[in-house]
Amino acid sequence: MIHDPPRPADLVKLRQEVRAFLADRRRSGDYQPQVDAMQRFSREFSLDLAKQGWVGMTLPTRYGGAGRTAVERFAVAEELIAAGAPVAAHWIAERQVGPMLMKHGTEGQRGRFLPGIARGEVVFSIGMSEPSSGSDLASVRTRAKPTDSGWLLNGQKIWTSYAESADFAMVLCRTSEGDDRHGGLSQLIVDLRSPGITIRPIPAMSGAGHFCEVFFDDAFVPDDCLVGEAGAGWRQVVQELSFERSGPDRYLSTFPLLAAWVESSKGSTDPYLAVQVGEVVAELSAVRTLAVRVAQAIDRGVDFAVDAALQKDAGTVLEQRLVEVLRRAGVSSHDPAPLGNLFYQATLAAPHFTLRGGTTEVLRGIVGRQVTGR
């Protein structure tokens, strides 16, 4: 879907509306700004946000979306992550499942899932990684054996965020054997409440994110839950990963901490502090320009896989460094709230930034192969 770019004045107005909404919800205690907002789950918040028209923004209006551009969605997403608002309940569905169903879903699937996604009601988990298949995603072993009216799913997924609370998972699995290990993969939408599915939480050190293991033991998946083509799963999942890799959570997850530090430093006349603040703000602003590019590329319908990889590499590495820069500038978890709490959260959350959604090493491999023409 090629879109005309929104006018700058309209984007400003949209951002201001989101900010006013967020300020109001903070005042009424509905949420507190947290680091790593993408991993903070609140069904109530997602429903509330959806009522404002800010979930499923890029989905067509006939499915309950707002029919708006990726650039507008990006503006709203930035406001939410910068404010540390709990977006996890709708994030995956909205960021990648919705666009994937628009690209590859049947009309029936779109009609079935998209309205619920746009209302902030439907929670999706990502069914990609397995214990033996992380960076080497093509090596997944979860198998879907064809039966009468669907498949029987057997295998295991891991690092499945929020599977315990989720309604569905988009599961990458093997539906046929092929010579080429990329062939024979498909994507199935699995109802996580089906029989034969066991979900176990995996506590993470940061206290956020709610990792799970998901075990499939002859779990039945109906025919109409195949997304796109059988055997085209690899190509599809690569596209899905482009959506997953890009986005403001890749450079604004620690923003509440940065903002709190600057706020608490106001009035300081320390010239070196000004340099430290300026260096971080400048780097963050520069990385932001890449994220805008990705949103523009989505609207234009051009391939953005490499741009998304560049953006994620730059943003996540910066975020990790930011926590250390602040520490060396004297910030600690003993600072008064909110600064001290946010610093504590950020320290524990930081290692995962360069792992989730594609490790930095994998991303650099993608970019490296692109530039060397391999």
Partner: protein, 367 residues
């Protein structure tokens, strides 16, 4: 001229007349007079200065196109100084552009020249250090402040000033210019209507654009070299360690490019060069200059540090240009002060800058 046509023209001219050997030959006092003549005949130095003010006309976009190509080709000439900076100052004061290669003073933050008036004359005094091109320029365009705080711009012949030659990392002139009661008598001079930090901002953006061009060529060289150099029976570009160097070069240049393009977009006129966007661009290019030069040299091995191979013509300019018209630290201090003194919160400050609209193609590695 259509932008892509201008891009092609400058690319051809610089490739033909300013190959890396030309940059090397002009080091250590070898001023490229013949190259200046070629460039001047094509009206490149005074691009962006209105025709009414004696310039070649054209838009700011033309200026950025020329500077990016000049950076890419390590062109050893004061192109930024002559038109955008000097011509811009003179035009803003209602004066005609001056032809010939020009140096502008002062350059370093915190340096200021004084204008004193007595009954008979006005004189300029003071010292400007690290002034690019002063010792080979025909004219020095200087800005000086009087006791009342009013700023005047003046175009002086080089001979009127005392020049102590110095050299940049790139072997280009980087001189100290001393004004000892230099009379303004007969020289074009007029009050400057706008704030004097506009020169700093315009200069910073010009040098950011030069750096971007150089960064992009460094990237091309590194990729090309890694694809051709074979060790252990294969091109070194097949090794993950080398691929990751190249990927990080691409990342840092993409970030610098995004910041520079935003600053170029946000600078619709040099009457109001935007502080935030320009500071971000200069810092991004300075950061990239450090990391990209280091990685590119690492990928190239020993041949990359030889005079014969062109990499040094670019990396030495990156090391010099990142310090010109404000170091990263100086610009970071500006942004930090803005953030710490702002009444609004940090997100409001950052998000109120002009994010790039959909005017230029989505850039990725290909740029």
């Amino acid at each position: 001229m259509d932008r892509s046509l201008l891009e092609d023209v400058v690319a051809d001219v610089f490739a033909k007349h300013s190959p890396p050997e030309r940059a090397v030959a002009s080091e250590d006092g070898g001023w490229a007079a013949d190259l200046w003549t070629i460039v001047e005949d094509l009206e490149l130095p005074l691009a962006g200065v209105p025709e009414e003010a004696g310039g070649s006309g054209g838009s700011l976009t033309d200026v950025w196109t020329i500077l990016r190509a000049a950076g890419r080709n390590a062109v050893p000439l004061p192109i930024a100084e002559t038109g955008l900076l000097a011509g811009g100052l003179l035009a803003a004061a209602g004066l005609q552009a001056v032809s010939g290669p020009i140096a502008v003073a002062p350059v370093r933050r915190g340096e200021q020249l004084r204008l004193q008036r007595d009954r008979s004359a006005a004189v300029v005094s003071g010292q400007a250090t690290a002034v690019p091109w002063a010792s080979v320029a025909d004219s020095i365009v200087a800005i000086a402040k009087d006791e009342g705080g009013e700023t005047t711009v003046v175009a002086l012949p080089r001979a009127a000033c005392q020049i102590t030659p110095g050299v940049s990392f790139a072997g280009e002139p980087l001189d100290t210019v001393t004004f000892e009661h230099v009379s303004l008598d007969g020289a074009p001079a007029a009050p400057l209507p706008h704030a004097d930090d506009h020169l700093q901002r315009r200069g910073a953006l010009a040098y950011a654009v030069l750096m971007l061009g150089a960064l992009e060529r460094v990237t091309d060289l590194a990729i090309e070299y890694a694809g051709q150099r074979e060790q252990f029976g294969r091109p070194i570009s097949r090794f993950q360690a080398v691929q990751h160097h190249l990927a990080q070069i691409a990342r840092d240049v993409a970030v610098a490019r995004g910041a520079v393009e935003l600053a170029m977009e946000a600078t619709e006129s040099t009457d109001e060069p935007p502080l935030f966007e320009i500071a971000v661009a200069k810092i991004a290019c300075g950061n990239a200059a450090h990391a990209v030069a280091a990685r590119a040299h690492q990928v190239h091995g020993a041949i990359g540090v030889t005079k014969e191979y062109p990499l040094h013509t670019l990396t030495r300019r990156l090391w010099s240009w990142r310090n010109t018209y404000g170091t990263e630290r100086e610009w970071a201090a500006e942004i930090g002060r803005l953030a710490l003194e702002a009444e609004c919160d940090l997100w409001t400050l950052m998000s109120s800058t002009r994010m790039n609209e959909d005017r230029s193609p989505a850039t990725g590695i290909g740029g």
